[in-house]
């Protein structure tokens, strides 16, 4: 009996000790990157290469979502937040957004769907639930199943901003350098403004780009939106306002749905974090991002 209690206490003490030591060790060196699941795989790739080149530092990448990333930066849990949309006005004051790449937002349908082009107004009507059958936009007679992302997702917010809330003129919001390219691209050719465009309640909500892809792949009537770099070949990507999101069209900003990928920091990042940011923006880092289907900011 005695030795059982004794060994139990000893193990508990050892664990406590260990966790303290581990905590202390990490504190000095690890750079935490938290945020968007759209950027996460890219940041993981960058961090692996960065760690290889700088063995003295550790970059730890976690998902959670754009807004969670910002919150983590605000609470000093993470040094770098990853944000897959432009910062909102109130956020732009508190954080500094560093654009690391531009990403196209692809509107995707099942490969067998005959529709291959929609205008932005049509996409908006579809996602608002006003167009409910594919034949209304020149397709087969089949119900449209909407697939959207959850509230707070950077991809969703970028979609809402670029499609649902698109305005007449280029957005007049100044003082937000990070969002400038997206705003201009998003507002081009937008039809008249409707107040309060919401994504229909009937839209099915999925919590990652991968889940959206999986659903659209298996549902002939589905339409969704996701990061262009992650679509690969399994889904049909629609042209928007007649422009197919090829690399050239996105680079030339002809394709209307483009959003920035940001690193978000509080003010002056630590040396280690700055080194990782510099690496991402370097020719090498940008080259890695371009290979994944993104557009360089350089």
């Amino acid at each position: 009996m005695k030795w059982i209690v004794g060994s139990f206490l000893a193990i508990a003490a050892a664990m406590l000790c260990f966790s303290f030591c581990a905590g202390r060790n990490n504190k000095g060196r690890a750079i935490n990157c938290i945020g968007s699941t759209s950027i996460q795989p890219l940041a993981e790739m960058l961090s692996q290469e960065f760690d290889r080149q700088h063995p003295e530092s550790i970059v730890e990448v976690q998902g959670g979502g754009s807004t969670a990333g910002l919150q983590a930066v605000a609470e000093n849990i993470a040094e770098i937040g990853m944000c897959s949309r432009s910062l909102k006005d109130d956020e732009a004051g508190r954080f500094r957004g560093i654009p690391i790449a531009l990403d196209g937002l692809a509107v995707v349908v099942h490969p067998d769907n005959p529709v291959s082009n929609l205008t932005k107004a049509q996409i908006r009507d579809i996602f608002e639930g006003r167009i409910t059958n594919w034949k209304q936009v020149g397709g087969a007679d089949a119900t449209i199943w909407l697939i959207t992302r959850e509230e707070g997702s950077g991809t969703r917010e970028a979609f809402v901003k670029l499609v649902m809330e698109a305005k007449d003129k280029p957005a007049a919001k100044a003082g937000q350098p990070a969002s400038a390219p997206a705003d201009k691209a998003g507002a081009a050719q937008a039809p008249t403004q409707h107040p309060n465009h919401r994504i229909s309640r009937k839209a099915m909500t999925q919590e990652s780009n991968g889940a959206v892809k999986e659903l659209v792949k298996h549902n002939r009537g589905a339409i969704g939106y996701m990061s262009l770099g992650l679509v690969k070949d399994e889904l049909k990507i629609l042209a928007v306002d007649g422009v197919y999101p090829s690399l050239d069209a996105v680079t030339a900003k002809k394709y209307p749905l483009v959003r920035p990928f940001l690193y978000v920091v509080k003010s002056t990042p630590s040396q280690g974090a700055q080194a990782f940011i510099d690496f991402t923006l370097s020719a090498e880092g940008q080259h890695m991002l371009v290979k994944e289907g993104l557009i360089s900011v350089r």
Binding site: G64, K202, M204, T205
Partner: protein
């Protein structure tokens, strides 16, 4: 003397350990209510529970469709899991050779050990496309969620029902057989009636599990904010609402998710209290016979 002090020491230590577990429960409860109640007051409890408008960005929080979603999915799960579970329990206690029971009962209980994400994955890959193909609709639906949950609650319902049926005094069965009733007549006219409260408790505990399940439901229910009109429509449950949006939520939105948690907490508490009362009543009755 010395032995007595040692005993006391050990019992005090154990008491402290037990208390820390209860303290954890109390802390969690207090925290959920502290975070969730203010927003319910701000929005108005009535409109929070009965409005269908969930637009967190606009500060509108109504969880009615999710309550309905949870209820619909749970009822479906109990229709499937309850029927199957009770059937299993009857077979295991009445019509099955003991050797087979030794194999079957652990296998059903093994179902409880499979991680819920695995259930969800199987649902997405096999069940959802099958429903879309043969029954129509998007596949992600009340039906898919109910079927997945039905299998998930099977071990809970089965093992508690088995215990309830086994607790029926042997004399009842023997008496019934002696009166000339067949096995099946004995089972449904005598044993099921005698074990009724235990079976009700099993079903209610299964419901608790179904209401609380999250991961598998997120994967197969579709998570729309719309009220479902048929079992083939997708729905969002209370748990999926919390899990889907927690990562991103801030401010009032986050608090509204805690309030969703409060609602869920109250529902599960009510279910558990019913289960406890019912099974206590059984204990009293069995004790008095």
């Amino acid at each position: 003397m010395k032995e007595a002090t040692k005993d006391k020491c050990i019992s005090l230590t154990l008491l402290a350990v037990a208390m820390s577990a209860i303290a954890g429960l109390a802390l969690i409860t207090a925290f959920i209510f502290k975070e969730g109640l203010p927003i319910m007051g701000k929005v108005g409890t009535g409109s929070f529970l009965l409005s269908s408008d969930w637009y967190p960005q606009e500060g509108r929080f109504g969880i009615f469709p999710m309550i309905i979603g949870s209820v619909a999915v749970t009822i479906g799960a109990m229709l499937i899991g309850g029927t199957l579970g009770l059937g299993c329990a009857i077979v295991l206690t009445q019509f099955c050779p003991p050797r087979l029971v030794m194999f079957l009962k652990p296998s059903i209980e093994l179902l409880a050990g499979i991680p819920s994400v695995v259930y969800g994955f199987i649902g997405v890959v096999i069940l959802v496309p099958a429903i879309a193909k043969y029954l129509g609709g998007p596949g992600l639906s009340v039906l898919a969620a109910s079927m997945v949950l039905g299998v998930m609650v099977l071990p809970t319902v089965t093992s508690i029902s088995v215990d309830a049926l086994r607790a029926v005094p042997k004399a009842y069965r023997e008496g019934s057989i002696a009166l000339g009733a067949t096995d099946w007549q004995t089972t449904h006219m005598v044993l099921l009636k005698a074990a009724r409260s235990g079976i009700v408790a099993a079903i209610i505990l299964g419901m608790g599990r179904a209401v609380g399940e999250t991961m598998a439901v997120i994967m197969v229910a579709g998570n729309t904010l719309n009220l479902p009109r048929s079992v083939l429509d997708p729905v969002r449950t209370l748990t999926s609402n919390i899990a889907l949006e927690m990562g991103y939520a801030a401010g009032d939105h986050r608090k509204a998710l805690f309030a969703t948690g409060v609602t869920l907490f109250v529902i599960i508490m009510i279910l558990n209290i019913i289960a406890l009362t019912v099974s206590r009543r059984r204990a009293r009755r069995v004790g008095s016979t």
